[in-house]
Amino acid sequence: MGAENLQPVNPLLDKRFVSAFVDGVIKTTSLMASTQVVVGKPTVETQFQAKGDVAGMVGMVFGQMKGTMSISFSKEAIFQIVENMLGEKNTEINASVTDAVGEMTNQIYGTAKTTLNQMGYAFEMAIPSVIQGTFTISKHHSGATLVIPFNLSNGSTFFVDITVIM
């Protein structure tokens, strides 16, 4: 259903564009949290929807292209990452957890942005927002959301959503 909305120039169809974000996730979780992830099969959705209990989101602007990158974590996923990163065991989403989500979002976007700008894009750095709970974003445009799952060793999954508005 989302495929007909994609235009030939949509960067979500560019493997290098998508790889920049995947590599950003792998590098960030590995270096900052000593956590190995397994990349799942990406899918395309027509409407963004958060999939976990807490999410980090950052806006991306390049010329006429606007987009968002978000990372949605289940509690199980983010608790494992924070434990690996800070040595803290958490049982609820507190300030420490939301700070970690914001920081990871910042680093993953920063890593991807550097790669993308070397490819000719000119994305700017932005400060991410962290959101808790279930939510949707309604859009009135021809965008689509690429959803990339990342699996952790404890069986949990977190998702990177990249939405591009042409």
């Binding site: 590098k27 900052m32 000593s34 800070l86 420490s96 920081e103 920063g110 890593t111 550097t114 400060i127």
Partner: protein, 122 residues
Amino acid sequence: MRKIIKKVLTELGYTNVEEADDGKPAFEKLQSAKSAGNPFEFVISDWNMPGMAGIDLLKACKADPSLKVLPFMLVTAESEQKNIVEAAKAGVSDYVVKPFNAQTLKGKLEKIWTKHSGSHAA
């Protein structure tokens, strides 16, 4: 980010560490400590912060004669050439790009200490 840096510093043996929410309270702490005769010996600052950014804190320190020689490391997700040039021009001691691991931070810290000690000896 502060928790991560503090954890790494603790692992490396640096235990006398103070934190600030952003550049403004950090600059006030640096000035107060210097005035009180108990100056900080090293600054590690994120680039992107709400309020006063790390690059502006660096520039403020370099503009203050009492803080000018204080070793200053920027930690940031900004790894593009223009940012590195801006930080270098502002007088940053070194620059660590996120994401990083403890060994990278340790290496950068030691490099700054060596450089700083050398410049003082000279």
